[in-house]
């Protein structure tokens, strides 16, 4: 995997410089590819397996690493290509400050000094071949990998001085490098001689394994020593001869001029715009295509509703019991994590609503008293509590009723009120998508703010009677509404309240709106006024919604753990109740309302006292900073369901088709609807996601504080860091708990 990533980075970065930039002729990529192939051969071929049984094979492996792979990779001059291969944001935002640091450059200068390279090479050689360390490497996979990594690193530092990979120059003259190389050869010779002429077996691990393959351990050891002796010289001596010839100017010095800045400039400095990508961009720009996507999902919803009402009542056997709760939610988190709010874009509720508005124009404006997120907060809380209390996931009929209720609600509300009232003020699922997409990498935003500065029409919010829609070849001119959620593009901050409907893209006469990459910092810490949102530090209703969903993520996931369920049963029995509904509802309320209220208020109080800022501002900023850790928990939870229960869709669809008289796909394979075992790769991925959420949350807190209060930012951030760390520990605890496998049968 690492080799593949390195090759991909190199191949991406080498475009535009190979053969065009002086110092980077065409043989360099070939050398790099050969080096990588040798590396793969050494680490992932039978050589590695046999190295555990025969010392000489292990020495062949080390020789390939340090004498062949390392110099070939350096001849490929991987430094500049791999930096160019990195995404712009990583190179500039993440690596840039380190590369520009004078201190780190000094450190790099010391590390890349010939003396350091020689010492590293010799040290690695002697330390790892000391019998104690060598034995430890043979018995532990981790130590063995570390051994190989250090061999490769030491060899790279050593060969760096001789090869001086472009654009670096050799720091010592060729004559000095000859001495450098021969000194390394001498230490290799001494070591090889010790191994070759020893009368006792130095590496006891091979006492057991070598005879099994027809070798004596001593013969194996002597062969290994002789190989190291001769094979080392086969590489080092020609290198020394080449250096001597170069010093005598018999061969042309391989020195290249420093690269010209223009030649190396990365020309794709513009932000990535999904709408400019072939096929996908064309599809998304096409208004009819987006509408057809929604109608497709209407058809799927209709099938689910019919099956929910008419199909079996057992949840794992019903489309309504599996597709919305297992598969759709898994798709949601993947789309939010790697893209943006594409779920609202493809929302099936919008298709009949848009159809209705062709003939029916609503007359009322959404009431001023309800123009906040408090209604949505209440609905989201009710949704989370009823999901746990009434086990909505286990009832296909309830699921069907919810879907029908949703369609009815959107038609009634958007039939009465103008704009996107349902999406903006009511829809609990939409609130989830819009808030969690604050951490998404893509956002609908303007490409060039200068264009907006000169725009007088403001079609992105007002709409356009002569808007333009670019289809594949012709530009149609039709009436296009502006943003129905009242987001004015030039002042839009982050993804909050954006449904990715792309009406603004259609309406903009300058073609200046796209789906562009954007840092989550914009939506979570930006202090500027945002269109339709205001300042994030003053919207307590939005903060409440964010807190509810952040803590809701942990409560929702904890609700399926066995300890939680046992506790619920215990409390229900001790209270003498016949149903777990009141206890479930009470516990969920405590977890998503009472506990967050106490913890958030306390953290806000402490940080407001330290920062001498209003409590409300600290509360709002803290709520925004907790979005990443909450989003990571949602991802962990729903991705778990998708990864362990993805196959449950197969028998359910077979059953549904059989019920309709289509027996093409055979009898339902119900074994597939039973919960599979948890894959070994899943827990590391879950832990990585949780850590990503923790780190980004911590970073958001600090960045937000550093912008506002400067010097005391760390102390002020402390309560929020403790809160995020506590949530992370809860998340880790949840990951390791036995789970109730919802949406699966117990065959």
């Amino acid at each position: 995997m690492g080799i593949a990533c390195a090759c991909a980075l190199y191949a991406r970065g080498v475009r535009g410089i190979v053969g065009r930039v002086r110092g980077f002729p065409r043989w360099r990529p070939k050398c790099f590819a050969a080096g990588m192939a040798i590396l793969f051969l050494a680490l992932a071929s039978p050589i590695d397996s046999l190295g555990h049984m025969l010392l000489w094979v292990h020495m062949v492996q080390h020789w390939l690493l340090i004498m062949i792979a390392a110099p070939l990779i350096l001849l490929g001059a991987p430094g500049i290509p791999m930096l160019r291969g990195l995404p712009n944001v990583v190179r500039r935002q993440a690596l840039g400050p380190f590369l520009a640091s004078p201190f780190l450059r000094k450190c790099l200068g010391v590390i890349l000094h010939p003396v350091s390279g020689w010492i590293a090479f010799a040290l690695v050689n002697w330390v790892w071949h000391y019998p104690t360390f060598y034995g430890a490497a043979l018995e532990s996979t981790f130590v063995h990998r570390f051994e190989h990594a250090s061999f490769l690193a030491g060899a790279m530092l050593f060969w760096w001085q001789i090869i001086a990979p472009w654009p670096w120059h050799a720091r010592w003259p060729d004559a000095a490098l000859v001495v450098y190389l021969l000194a390394a050869d001498v230490q290799n010779t001494i070591f090889s001689a010790i191994v070759t002429f020893s009368d006792s077996v130095l590496y006891s691990n091979y006492l057991a394994t070598a005879p099994a393959l027809g070798w004596t351990a001593l013969r194996d050891q002597r062969t290994a020593g002789a190989f190291m002796w001769t094979a080392g010289q086969v590489v080092m001596l020609p290198a020394a001869i080449f250096l001597i010839l170069r010093a005598l100017k018999i061969v042309r010095p391989n020195r290249f001029a420093a690269p010209q800045r223009d030649a190396l400039a990365v020309h794709h400095q513009k932000r990535f715009d999904l709408l400019q990508v072939a096929w996908i961009g064309g599809f998304l720009r096409n208004r009819a295509a987006r509408e057809s996507l929604r109608w497709t999902l209407v058809a799927v919803a209709l099938v689910i509703v019919v099956d929910g009402f008419a199909g079996p009542s057992d949840s794992p056997s019903n489309l309504a019991g599996t597709l919305p709760w297992t598969h759709w939610r898994g798709v949601i988190v993947i789309a939010l994590l790697f893209g943006g709010n594409f779920l609202c874009m493809s929302c099936p509720l919008m298709a009949p609503r848009n159809l209705m508005r062709r003939w029916w124009t609503p007359h009322f404006r959404w009431p001023s008293a309800l123009r906040s997120k408090w209604l949505a907060v209440g609905l989201v809380a009710i949704w989370l509590i009823s999901y746990e209390a009434f086990d909505l996931w286990s009832s296909p009929i309830a699921t069907a009723f919810i879907i029908v209720g949703y369609f009815t609600a959107v038609l009634v509300i958007d039939g009465l009120f103008r704009g996107g009232s349902f999406c903006k003020w009511v829809c609990p699922i939409g609130q989830f998508h819009m808030t969690q997409s604050l951490v998404s990498p893509l956002s609908v935003s303007v490409s060039n703010t200068a264009v907006c500065a000169t725009c007088t029409g403001r079609e992105c919010i007002r709409g356009s009677n002569s808007g333009h829609i670019k289809s594949s070849s012709v530009a149609l001119r039709i009436s296009v509404p502006g943003c129905e959620l009242e987001l004015f593009q030039p002042a839009k901050r982050g993804n909050l309240d954006c449904t990715f409907c792309l009406d603004c893209v259609d309406a903009c006469p300058h073609d200046n709106v796209g789906i562009l990459t954007q840092s989550p910092r914009i939506g979570l810490t930006d202090r500027r006024w945002g269109s339709s949102i205001g300042r994030i530090a003053s919207r307590i209703d939005i903060a409440a919604l964010l807190v509810l969903l952040a803590f809701g993520a942990f409560a929702n996931a904890a609700g399926m753990t066995v300890p939680w369920l046992d506790f619920v049963d215990g409390v229900t029995q001790s209270l003498g109740l016949t149903s777990t509904v009141p206890v479930e509802a009470g516990m969920t309320t405590v977890a998503i309302v009472i506990v967050p209220l106490i913890l958030m208020s306390a953290s806000a109080l402490i940080s407001s006292q330290i920062a001498k800022r209003p409590w409300r501002e600290e509360f709002c900023r803290g709520a925004h900073a907790l979005v990443p850790i909450g989003a990571s928990m949602w991802c962990v939870h729903w991705f778990f369901h998708l990864a362990t229960s993805a196959s449950t869709a197969i028998p359910v669809m077979q059953r549904a088709l059989n019920d309709l008289g289509f027996a093409w796909f055979g009898e339902p394979q119900w074994a597939a609807s039973c919960c599979g075992s948890v894959p070994t790769w899943l827990i590391p991925i879950e832990l990585l996601l949780l850590q990503l959420g923790l780190v980004v949350s911590g970073w958001m807190v600090w960045r937000g504080n550093a912008q506002r209060i400067g010097g005391r930012s760390i102390v002020t951030a402390l309560p929020w860091w403790i809160l995020a760390l506590t949530l992370w520990l809860v998340g880790v605890w949840i990951v390791f708990q036995p789970m109730q496998m919802r949406g699966t049968s117990t065959l």
Partner: protein, 190 residues
């Protein structure tokens, strides 16, 4: 060579290398000896063994020649009469000279491991291993749980570097306005 051709070449090399890919079976040698007519070396992973799934690998040879066609079984007899027996196949081993299997040793304590070669009557041998209690599940995932610490430290370092660079840039602007030489702040190619 064009870039596309180079990529194809890399892909071919990797494809060929993948075909000969094999995992190191690793682990420690726990027993070696003559089991009847065969020389047997037994590897075990993890070391020390803990209750749960244990990987056994075995090299069976005769006169230095690996014997790959002879059937081999491994049987584990544990405390309280618990036992488990599995046939070992070279297909389960990354190193095709070995045979491997995963055997579940459910409880801690001393387990007697018996290797049965062929019909298991004359060519057999056994040894004892001490199995430790299973570690809590989070311990195996510990390396995955501490990555946030270096990530946080890198972020902190990055923020500090940016702050310092901005401060220096501010100082440079002031000195530049005062007429000093800005050449020393020449931009890096990176």
């Amino acid at each position: 060579m064009k870039l596309d051709a180079m990529m194809k070449w890399i892909a071919r090399v990797l494809a060929v290398a993948c075909c000969i890919r094999a995992h190191a079976d690793g682990g420690a040698v726990v027993d070696r000896g003559h089991y009847g007519a065969f020389d047997v070396t037994v590897f075990l992973s993890p070391v020390p063994p803990c209750a749960g799934a244990i990987d056994f690998s075995i090299l069976v040879s005769r006169n230095g020649e690996p014997q790959l066609s002879t059937p081999v079984h491994v049987r584990a007899d544990g405390p309280g009469g618990a036992w488990n027996e599995v046939e070992m196949h070279s297909a389960d081993s990354g190193n095709r000279l070995l045979r491997a299997c995963s055997l579940t040793l459910g409880s801690p304590g001393v387990w007697r491991i018996s290797i049965l070669i062929g019909d298991g009557v004359s060519d057999r041998g056994s040894f004892d291993i001490s199995v430790n209690p299973a570690p809590p599940p989070w311990r195996a995932s510990l390396p995955w749980m501490v990555l946030w610490i270096p990530a946080a430290l890198i972020l902190v370092a990055r923020e500090k570097l940016i702050t310092n660079q901005r401060r220096r840039r501010g100082a440079w602007r002031e000195s530049d306005q005062a007429g000093s030489n800005p050449e020393r702040f020449s931009a890096s190619i990176l």
